[in-house]
Amino acid sequence: MSAITTATEAIESPNALRRLFRRPLALACIGYLLLVILVAILAPVIWPGVDHEQAGDLIRARQGSTPDHWFGTDALGRDVLQRLLVGTRVTMVGVVEGMVVVLALGVPLGVIAGYFGGLPDRILTWISDLTFSIPGLIVILVVLSIFKASLLAAMITFGLLVSPHLIRLVRSATLPVSRELYIEAARVSGLSRFYILRHHVLPRIAGPIIVQASFLAAAILLVQSGLAYLNLIIEAPAPSWGGMIAEGLENISSQPWLIWPPGIAIGLTMLAFLLLSDQIRDVGVETWQGPRRRIRRKDITQVQAAALRVEGGRSDSGDDGSPAEVALLSMEGVRVSVSSPGGELTIIEGVTLDVRVGETVGLVGESGSGKTMTAMAILGLLTGGAQITSGEIRFAGRNLVGLSEQQLRRIRGSEIGLISQEPMVGFNPVFRIGTQLEDTLRLHQGMTRRQARVAAIDLLRRVRLPDPAAVARRYPHELSGGMAQRVAIARALSGNPTLLIADEPTTALDVTVQAEILELLRELAHDERMAILLVSHDWGVIADVCDRAVVMYAGQVVERAGIIPIFREPMHPYTAALLSSNPHHAIPGDVLPTIPGTVPKPGAWPVGCHFQARCRLSTTECGEAKIPMLQPTDERETRCLHFRVLAQESELVEVTRS
């Protein structure tokens, strides 16, 4: 879904540094920090006297801004700007000292803990935990009570106390990288640990390290100025940012502005570190993490927006009393689009399909075909900014398109149930299974807590779980995959829905468990007349439970047929090619028929048939205009102009076989 948008924004060069410099905000931060360092180096050289200046021009003390003294003078008549600039050095020296310790300890130890694991890891983790519980500032005070006014001692101590933060971060950044398959491939090739750390691990974790380092630099700056404020690390007349705040506070009633210049200097520097770390993180994310899902605020706001919306949407329920034997669910020309930088991008194009009462319809396709998106559109649960832009979804006589979030909510769970590919993570990890079932039961059936408790166990029994009461007391992480999918089905049944949408319900399961779940779905369809829309990429699963199949390719429905005809006599070249590329039916060792090329991405769809570039039957006609759904027979539809050729071929097979 959102992968579509991220994939189109192809990442040009993984050179993170270059892209960092292309960001104005990052440039500003780097520029500012360089300026501060320059001042720290030069100011004490330009005004060498300031460090020892006990008092300045006492006659001009306590002045505001004047042409001679831009930032005014303090109670002793000293120039505030000069003191601020000269005071930069001690501040920056403190930061550098602390950072040297932090980096020298944090990076190597973190890498060791993360990459090698085992005993060193356990020891380091234990030390880190211990250090997190030590009130660092107090320990610095202990040190300063011994090494009086020693900035170096204070900063080394603080560096020691802060480095576990970096150790922990580096460790947790290294750990997943060290388990990546490319590291294992490198180990298989016999590359040395040093080579692997240098070439594979460090480049991957550099981003997070820099982010955390600039964060820690800010923390060190803060502590440095705090200690300076307490007058613990700098001998009296020498200026420092923190010390100037202390001086300002002494004169807060007579010269309230004195606290502002050092405060702003600290704030700006902190801000530079903070913003820089944000910028580096952003660059890092887009560099090689690539199509990683970032949650957009827009998605989340939908939840809240819905809560605030009291009424809304047109209510066109029951405007035309459709007869009952018509399809329970009927999608008609449903188009789904996302808004992208290049305008509106269609990702589902005119999907039409029906599901009747008690019928199981398979929605098949490969990744990128839009089958899951189609299923989610029914429930109004599109993510990544996708929207239904045209078409109708008629369910039990109502058009679901255009319903308000609140109206859709009454349908979700109670009239249409959903089970998904990953049943385990579909449950809230912190509530018991029983509690979560009771929640939906009370919501949909208006039960009391006590009634719901009984009903929840009944539901678990209905999906054939042994000892349902015990299962209800479990937390999701205590279930196996097969059990979790049964429970997920139980939850989907809690509102007594008439339609169940099953989105790849067995893909994550072992074959033996899959067989049981499919059996359960079949029983629901057969014994309880439940309509099921089964989304799957697995033709075996489709063959096992479906009555009819709808094949999707590149955002379109390309073929619709009964389950036996579609396998025996596919009337779309894509269906035919896909079926034959399945090794299941091939002679072992033979060359498998393949489909050349790749699925075109949304936005790159050709004018006519989406499959034309990969199709052996394609002619110029195929690219001229949109291909409509053709009806070879009453029960069959295909989006192919050449379906007759295919039909003849399969007749030929019939002949040769008999």
């Binding site: 935990d129 211990l130 997190f132 519980s133 030590i134 009130p135 660092g136 500032l137 107090i138 320990v139 005070l141 202990v142 009570s145 800010a218 100025s225 705090g226 404020y229 923190g242 300002g248 506070l249 807060i252 309230p256 606290i259 600290i266 902190m270 903070l274 899902r293 949650i295 605020r297 989340i300 706001t301 939840v303 809240q304 809560a307 979030e405 959903l418 998904s420 990953e422 993570v425 579909g426 990890p429 912190v430 509530f431 018991r432 939906t440 919501l443 054939r464 042994p466 015990a470 937390y475 992480h477 205590e478 279930l479 196996s480 059990m483 989907a492 509102g495 033996t512 468990v513 049981e516």
Partner: protein
Amino acid sequence: MTSLDVNVALQQPQVRRGSRIGGLLRDPIAQVITRRILFAIPLLFVVSALSFVLMRLIPGDPARQILGPSGSPEAYAALREQLGLDLPLYQQYWDWLQNAVQGNLGTSIFRGESVVDILNQRLPVTFSLLFLSLLVTLIVGVTLGVLSAVRGGATGRGIDVLSQLGFILPSFWVAAVLVSIFAVQLRLLPAVGYVPIDDSVADWLRSLVLPVAAIALASVAAVARQTREAMLDVLGSEHIRMARANGIPPHRILLRYALKPAGTRVMTMLGLEAVSLLGGTVFIESVFAMPGLGSIAVSATYQQDVPLVVGVTVYFTILVVIVNLIVDLMYTWLDPRVRTA
């Protein structure tokens, strides 16, 4: 149809539980408390041993400091013996540790009083500050974080800016600004001092408003940030999608289904913030001239009153242990995986 899959999974918890030692330890709460206490012992040991070794690194020694340069060699030797300074270092630490376990942390060099007496007197001040700051951090931080996660637009951006300000501004500077506005200009609140809660609850609160505001700003910012990130992660997760697919109303999703899982990360953050809040009392008590542990730590540092500084370290460490224990208990309550895993 049933399968092994089902059966094995049903048996697992019992197997695990059976392998645990002791009946009491079966209770997760008791486990957390035991673990924390077991953790506190090495922590206190490390902190005190470090402090003790550092203490003996002082150029000159406490006897010389107490007597000053004018003291006679006989008096010096006598005092050394009296203070136990003639004994080997490990013997001194062992004596100190034995005393410490019995609640005797030695005598302040500068004040000549018992360290424990001095610190007990000042504990309520720091405790009030810490307790109120944590409360404010939790309530305000989580509220702002949730709001920021849910609301885009101006509200969200406002909260983002606030949390960034909280991060970049030093607490003592914020304190100075607050004093300048609310105490000096508007004269609404006292600029300095602390009123014990026994004297007057209202005045106690009034005396704590500015210190708490100054010290909690950073941790409110940190907790708000963490809450927002955690909420965004949880709201984007599969179980929230499934909750929506099951027709759970949005406010319920937000406050029940998302907040509780996000709470574990918030708690972790709160534990870390408690440690830095405690450090922050050092500055804030100085700004507001509050007679707490932090301010005495600073003056003891000036005076090189090592026993007193070490005493404060021990007190602070115990406070951290208590806060962490509370955080752990809340964590256990929030996340069942901690309980069973």
